[in-house]
């Protein structure tokens, strides 16, 4: 039996097509059983995430026949015969195994090197395993893929460095403060990115968060959701004595905070560092404040530049990851030596 893959992903299909072919977790055992009953696959695993829908199958059929059967199954299962033809990719050995290893290592993900996909792949495999839809061929391929993903994570820099503004802000905070558990966050203007940044800081253990927004309802809703508190927008300067990180993203047409305004707010803080994240365009914080002692100001371009640099570093690691994968796939496909004893 050889391993084949058929599927669609963020690389080939827009979300409108992907969602038509997505499998709910509860549907998967029945789908796997139907696939095997149809005689298309001896073993099968279905991976269905927001970015991809893939069927990994071990089949005795020739690849062309297997692909035709799998495609027919996909269209029939989702009753998608009437819609436009999806752009399905089909891969036979060794490309199918190479693809599986790449997916496990996060090399085929929208965010290069992300680890969430490995968890999703393990869950998809476990589901198939529990319902006895895998056998020696897929078990070995998936176990090796998981092992290779671990190898890639530890031996290369593919997952190193944050590549979103929110996670770069968290990394910066961790380079300034001994522990985020003692730090309070102030969010001035609860835009989408500042909300994500506040969430990221809270998920890494920040002590608390204060929201000051022109629309008090949104501030209160976010405060309730993240376990923080909301204050009237005009009260944000009064919070500076107790906070350590301020994220600003208002739509004000001028600087909200400048050197003249910040200096008196710093005095009661002593030597405590203050991290200012200015995500607003036009900017909310005068760049001059960065010259003040113990103040560290980063605007959206600074954060973006760091994220892009990390992205470039990850791109540079792809060749190393590919080499590891090629070696592991070759080892998987090499038959064990015969025992002559």
């Amino acid at each position: 039996m050889s391993v084949v893959v058929i599927g669609l992903s963020h690389r080939t299909s827009p979300v409108a097509v992907r969602e038509r072919f997505a499998f709910a977790e509860a549907q998967i055992p029945a789908a796997l059983a139907a696939l095997r009953d149809a005689g298309v696959a001896g073993e099968a695993v279905i991976l269905s995430t927001c970015n991809r829908v893939e069927i990994y199958a071990a089949t005795a059929l020739a690849p062309a026949a297997a692909f035709a059967g799998l495609k027919q199954f996909l269209l029939a299962f989702h009753q998608a015969g009437g819609g436009p033809e999806p752009e399905l990719y089909t891969l036979a050995e060794p490309e199918s195994l190479h693809h599986l290893f790449k997916v496990a290592g996060g090399l085929d993900s929208m965010v290069l090197g992300e680890t969430e996909i490995l968890g999703q792949l393990k869950k998809a495999y476990d589901l198939a395993l529990q319902h006895r839809h895998t056998g020696a061929r897929l078990n070995k391929a998936f176990q090796r893929a998981f092992h290779t993903a671990k190898h890639i994570r530890t031996d290369t820099n593919i997952q190193r460095g944050s590549i979103s503004i929110a996670s770069v802000a968290v990394e910066l905070a961790e380079k300034i403060f001994s522990s985020l558990a003692e730090q309070e966050v102030l969010v001035i203007g609860a835009g989408d990115t500042s909300e994500k940044t506040a969430r990221a800081l809270m998920s890494r253990g920040a002590r608390g968060v204060v929201f000051a927004n022109r629309s008090p309802e949104r501030a209160q809703a976010l405060a309730a959701e993240l376990g923080g508190r909301a204050v009237p927008f005009e009260d944000w300067p009064a919070q500076f004595q107790g906070i350590d990180i301020a994220i600003s993203s208002t739509s004000a047409p001028h600087y909200l905070l400048d050197r003249r305004r910040l200096e008196p707010l710093l005095k009661p803080r002593g030597e405590k560092p203050l991290l200012l994240i200015d995500i607003a365009v036009p900017r909310d914080i005068d760049p001059e404040v960065n010259y003040l002692e113990n103040v560290y100001l980063y605007n959206v371009d600074d954060l973006q530049a760091i994220a892009e640099d990390h992205q470039k570093s990850r791109q540079a690691e792809i060749a190393r990851c590919e080499a590891i994968i090629a070696e592991k796939v070759a080892a998987l496909l090499t038959p064990p030596p015969l025992n002559h004893s």
Binding site: V168, L172, E174, E293, D302
Partner: protein, 274 residues
Amino acid sequence: MNWFTDRHFFLLAVLCYGLSTGYSVLLWRKGFRKDNRVNYLLLLAGFCLQVTAMSLRGFSLRHCPVNNLFEATMFVGWTMVTAYLVIGLVSKLRFLGAFVSPLLFFLGIFALMPALDPPHGPKPEFSGAGVSLHAAFILQAYGAFGLGAVAGLMYLLQEHDLKFHKLRAIISVLPPIQKLELISMRLLRNGFLLLTVGLGIGAAVMGQHKDGYWSDVKVLWSLLVWAVYLTLLVLRWKFARGGRRFAWGAVAAFAFVVLTFWGTNLLSPLHHQP
């Protein structure tokens, strides 16, 4: 010729510190991205060789080897490398080694200058348990001040990178600046306590018996160093003068100690008997 003298072991230790310094330069050029295990092992090897050297010297003298400038410098280095090896058990703080090794290498090269280690006469320059204890406490204090200065230097580097948005601030494995400041402050505080005890023992043992003790250059210099560190710590605690100013203070105070320690020793009749 005996190839296994204490000085030869110390020379090998200094070579380890030299290798560690070279490796630290490589780490620096790469933006401190890598884990620092190699440096830790090199400094551990240097430590073992240095302990052997100090033990050989101590057994031959039958007391603590802090009797001339070679031994005193070796003792300061030993204090620093010991403290580093303990601190470096915490992986996040292991990077201190990249900054400690150049200082150890410099101290080692200096200590190996032959003029600093004249043959001991029938009686060493300093003798007696009280005097040995006085010297040991003070030299340990200088070791702590040295490490405090190293942590201060790391703070200044990291703070500069954060302030000027250098990518190295994020990609390096240096600890956060708040932690570096705390380490520096604790080392200076412990060093100050050791110096206070050491000076107290010195005054108790020698102040009663030696004429001109309180006008001796080294005694006056030591009191000045004590006052400098006291000022730094009081400013830090009472007036919240931490951050960059404190780090610069730690570095400048230790630079003053390093640059004047041996000179004042030579000028001091109590500590240097030609």
